[in-house]
């Protein structure tokens, strides 16, 4: 058997489900280690989600994920990237579970995201932008930036679940929430925002320009939002649409 064929066969056996017979005692060790390591990675990444669902329900969901989503990255840190999406199906009647997992995942990713510069008001003001430059202004999100629309009170749940000694939190009535996650300095941040600010940041993260933002119906808020975004370090850099990188202007 060629090495390539051997490695494929071996990996098939290692990642097989519990019902498949192990061909030897040694293979059972590898299979057990595979399952244990991946389960451990999910438990580590989704501690609060696990606390909310309970150990048994979490373990069942994690085992399903492990069987259907073999790891493909060299880093175990990436393994839970699709877990919240999988939970949307597995906990279809409990939408807060997937939303909680989404928050937990992105807060952890923000914690260790690659470093980026911070764009503040002084840096933007010193860029020498004039006239139509402002309409073409685009913003580059900071390290770990992510945003999402939610249908439950998952943000409050996420906060409450941090206290492991407290009584189990209670989930309120379904409610629409919009959140952003990013890292400010070394600390991951979570902020609940209104629908208008969410739409504006969604446009920015898709490459929208300041001119496009200004043409939106709720543009009256734009000035105050922009000031807040710059104070909070939401952006790493800026650019001018269809032009050279804005840093060339500095």
């Amino acid at each position: 058997m060629s090495l390539a064929a051997l490695q494929k066969t071996f990996l098939d056996a290692v990642s097989a489900d519990d019902d498949a017979p192990a061909v030897s005692l040694g293979m059972a060790v590898y299979r057990d280690a595979y399952r244990t390591r991946l389960l451990g990675a999910l438990e580590s990444s989704f501690e609060r989600t696990r606390r909310w669902t309970g150990d048994a329900a979490f373990a069942a969901a994690a085992c399903h994920y492990i069987l259907t989503r073999p790891p493909s990255s060299w880093t175990l840190d990436e393994y839970g990237a699709d877990f919240s999406a999988a939970l949307e199906t597995l906990f279809a009647g409990d939408c807060e579970v997937a939303e909680l997992a989404w928050i937990e995942w992105h807060m952890q990713r923000a914690f260790a995201a690659r470093d980026s510069a911070t764009l503040d008001a002084a840096r933007l003001a010193s860029a020498g932008l004039e006239g139509s430059d402002w309409d073409r202004l685009q913003f580059v999100p900071a390290a770990g930036f992510a945003l999402r629309r939610l249908g439950t009170g998952a943000p409050a749940l996420w906060t409450a679940l941090a206290d492991t000694g407290a009584a189990e939190p209670v989930l309120g009535e379904p409610e629409e929430n919009h959140i952003i996650v990013w890292r400010r300095g070394l600390v991951p941040q979570l902020r609940v925002i209104c629908a208008g600010e969410y739409a504006a940041l969604n446009l920015i993260s898709a490459g929208g320009t300041l001119g496009e933002l200004a043409s939106r119906p709720d543009s009256a808020e734009l000035g105050s939002w922009l000031a807040l975004w710059l104070v909070h370090g939401l952006f790493a850099d800026f650019a001018l649409a269809s032009d050279q990188p804005a840093t060339a202007l500095l």
Partner: protein, 279 residues
């Protein structure tokens, strides 16, 4: 490429997050620390700040678990680029990884999977180690893993395989004494024959760790217990054969107090009959 790695007769510990603060609040009596490379690759924020602070204070070795040097599909160029970037930041004593493969066909295992010891696997490892050393611009240290299966197609022993790999690529060896012991029990070979079979002049680091007992006498390389007496005895034999080289206690699970690991490191110093750099 700098083709040689000098001897470094220090005694060190694997850096684990449970002990980050202790390593930074005061100088600990270690000659070096070893980081898991993947824990700090492609990341930033607090983990990288902690790494910078540690590497300012302690000589640092970088130990990898995901290069997959035995992969028939070759190496991941993105992985090598990230590793090289980290090495540029850390300026490590050396880079090491394992004689194993970790994935195939786009699927990973996050485990150190065993290779058959035959000519095809040797050719694959020679090509991969050579490629990695060219990209990283430095020789690697290759570690012997523990294993729980062996292959009918083996045409040579693990130590013959390692000896050939060092000869063809110029790589060095990280000898994991616990892994030699575990594999010797699991596969019924003479651990001393392993030590005699690898080239003494290529060993630059030794790992010491604990293991656990599995079913039907199988030993499992769990790194969750102190080093056992039989591994200490094998370590004494190793130091007698290989002379001074860096020795490290490797603990990955059931992490004890730092004092417990420092006490174990003192035992290593006494077994080696030398005090190391910081003692």
């Amino acid at each position: 490429m700098n083709k040689s790695i000098g001897r470094f007769a220090g005694f060190g510990l694997g850096l684990r997050k449970e002990h980050h603060a202790r390593f930074l609040e005061a100088d600990q009596p270690v000659d070096f620390v070893e980081i898991i490379s993947e824990n700090f690759m492609a990341c930033g924020g607090q983990p990288l700040r902690t790494l910078d602070a540690v590497t300012e204070r302690y000589p640092t070795a970088m130990h990898g678990v995901a290069m997959s040097l035995g992969s028939s599909a070759g190496l991941d160029s993105n992985y090598l680029a990230e590793l090289k970037m980290l090495a540029h930041r850390v300026k490590p004593l050396w880079l090491s990884d394992h004689l194993c493969w970790t994935g195939a066909g786009g699927r990973g295992s996050h485990d150190l999977l065993p290779l058959p010891y035959d000519d095809e696997a040797l050719d694959v490892c020679i090509a991969n180690v050579t490629h990695a050393q060219d990209v990283l611009e430095r020789p690697l240290l290759i570690e012997n893993p523990s294993s729980y299966v062996s292959f009918a197609q083996n045409t040579m022993s693990e130590w013959q395989f390692l000896a050939a790999l060092t000869q063809e690529t110029g790589c060095y060896l990280l000898l994991d004494v616990n892994n030699v012991y575990v594999s010797s029990v699991n596969h019924g070979f003479d651990a001393l024959a392993f030590l005699d079979g690898i080239p003494a002049d290529r060993v630059r680091q030794i790992h010491l760790a604990g293991h656990s007992s599995g079913p039907q006498g199988l030993l499992i390389d769990t790194h969750d217990a102190p080093v056992c007496p039989k591994v200490w005895a094998l370590y004494q034999a190793a130091t007698a054969r290989f002379g001074p080289c860096a020795t490290m206690i490797e603990r990955d699970d059931a992490i004890p107090q730092l004092e417990d690991l420092l006490a174990e490191l003192s035992i290593a110093r006494s077994h080696a009959g030398i005090k190391g750099l910081a003692a």
